[in-house]
């Protein structure tokens, strides 16, 4: 294992200021889960002027739909899902105060720009490592949209939860930069590392 930056949540502007693409970080504290159905509902509620079920200011949202917990366990396997599917909702989520997101894969141009404008950060956790990430989640509680099952919003307490900074607050994009660095093919690199 290489070096990691330990980060205690919530994410402050000062912490975000110090993060750069390619940084390996470990989050400790509280994060909230939300994926497709929860995003759709939050944005619809916000646009209708309704009160949200949680205050999103300063929050880190984890894109995950875990497996059911075995008896006595806080959660099942809990790795990230594809972030790009949440792109249509993300600029609005950032307006509502979200400061960090954890998913897998790249983000589209509009989201990359919104991350920079909002001085936020997007990280990936390693997709397909839900069993390993389970070990970094110490407690879980459904806080909204229980009817959505695996897609409900959960409050997670995490300890040294591993992630990698992909889009920092300065417009950096690790997927595009990394691909340029390691490409030996003569084929042109797609814009945004394929996340466009």
């Amino acid at each position: 294992m290489g070096e990691s930056k330990a980060i205690t949540l919530p994410l402050t502007d000062e912490v975000i200021e110090g993060l750069r693409i390619g940084d390996h970080v470990e989050f400790s504290g509280v994060i909230h889960t939300a994926r497709d159905a929860a995003h759709k509902r939050i944005v619809a509620m916000a646009n209708a002027g309704e009160a949200l079920p949680l205050d999103l200011r300063g929050q880190v949202i984890y894109y995950v739909g875990p497996t059911p917990a075995r008896p006595g366990q806080p959660i099942g396997s809990a790795g990230p899902t594809t972030a790009m599917r949440l792109d249509p909702y993300t600029p609005r989520m950032l307006e509502l105060g979200v400061k960090g997101m954890i998913g897998k894969g790249g983000r589209g141009r509009a989201v990359r720009e919104a991350i920079k404008e909002s001085h936020a950060v997007y990280c990936i956790a390693v997709g397909g490592t839900g069993a390993l990430l389970n070990r970094h989640i110490t407690s879980t509680e459904v806080v909204a949209f229980e009817d959505l099952g695996t897609e409900a919003i959960r409050r997670l307490e995490v300890e040294r939860f591993p992630a990698i900074v992909v889009n920092d607050a300065f417009g950096g994009d690790l997927l595009e930069a990394g691909r340029r660095q390691y490409r030996t093919s003569s084929r042109p690199v797609p814009i945004g590392g394929g996340g466009a």
Binding site: G2, G79, I124, T129, T150, R179
Partner: protein, 281 residues
């Protein structure tokens, strides 16, 4: 004529669902271990280490390798001298999916009415079941819990007959480039060339049941597999698309005779959690 009880099929499918989602196949884990030695990006190596540690934790603590326990893709080869008794084959398979996903604490990811209410079926059934009638009196069941992230990156295109081999290489590279980190690289890439639209995608998917390193018996096709693997790894996508030299662990190509007017090409991508399990009854 040999009798196989539907209940035995249900039990087998339930077991395959649980085992496939918890135990990474040895050939896949071995290929990931090998990639660790050749990966040029330090961050890529760190990701590979997390993937290997994940496989160990999943095995030891009976936690699914990935929270996406997939669409249950079941490939059945039914010997023509077999008689299934005590129930209908497809019902028996779906009952096995329901049993395995319940007992195994697996995620139920299947919704009805895809463009409408999208209500979860609550069982992960129905599976996507392919049946083939083959000679003999055995029943082969291949089980693949196929993740949504990688399946979403599938692509199909009709090329001109004269476009040839180069079109296949360009299309596969373009597909991998565009999919980036979404399908969870390092990947295993299934490519179907020929047949019709549905045949090309079906053989692309079926190729993903092969073991890593298993080449197509046709030397010309095997040569294309080697060329594709090299071309894809030159893209620099790397583990989880952070940049690196390991974008794919293997590329499998299957072909089928096609129409004089056609060159169908289908790409079906598998993530590094390349989960498959077989049983023979």
């Amino acid at each position: 004529m040999r009798e196989i009880e539907a209940a035995a099929i249900t039990e087998t499918v339930a077991r395959l669902a649980v085992e496939s989602t918890h135990f990474l196949p040895e050939d896949v884990e071995g290929a990931i271990r090998d990639a660790r030695e050749t990966e040029r990006s330090p961050l890529g190596v760190q990701i590979i280490d997390e993937i290997l540690e994940n496989a160990e934790i999943a095995r030891e603590r009976m936690l699914p390798l990935c929270q996406d326990t997939g669409t249950s893709v079941v490939h059945v080869e039914l010997g023509q001298d077999v008689h299934v008794s005590g129930g209908y084959l497809i019902d028996a398979i779906n009952a096995g999916i329901e049993q395995g996903y319940g007992e195994g604490y697996l995620r139920k990811s299947i919704v009805e009415n895809p463009f409408g209410a999208r209500t979860n079926t609550g069982t992960n059934a129905p599976g996507v079941i392919h049946t083939e009638i083959v000679p003999g009196e055995e029943l082969h069941i291949g089980f693949m819990p196929k993740g949504g992230g990688c399946e979403n990156m599938s692509r199909y295109q009709n090329f001109l007959p004269g476009d040839g081999r180069e079109a296949v290489v360009d299309f596969v590279c373009e597909t991998v480039d565009l999919s980036g980190g979404n399908p969870c690289p390092p990947l295993i890439i299934g490519v179907g060339v020929g047949g019709t639209a549905e045949k090309a995608m079906t053989i692309a998917k079926h190729s993903l049941f092969r073991k890593v390193g298993e080449r197509n018996p046709d030397p010309e096709v095997a040569g294309l597999e080697g060329e594709l693997l090299e071309a894809v790894n030159a893209l620099g996508v790397g583990p989880q698309a952070v940049g690196g030299s390991t974008t794919a662990l293997d590329v499998f190509v299957e072909t089928y005779p096609t129409h004089i007017a056609a060159l169908p090409v289908a790409v079906n991508i598998q993530c590094h959690s390349a989960r498959t399990k077989h049983a023979v009854l």
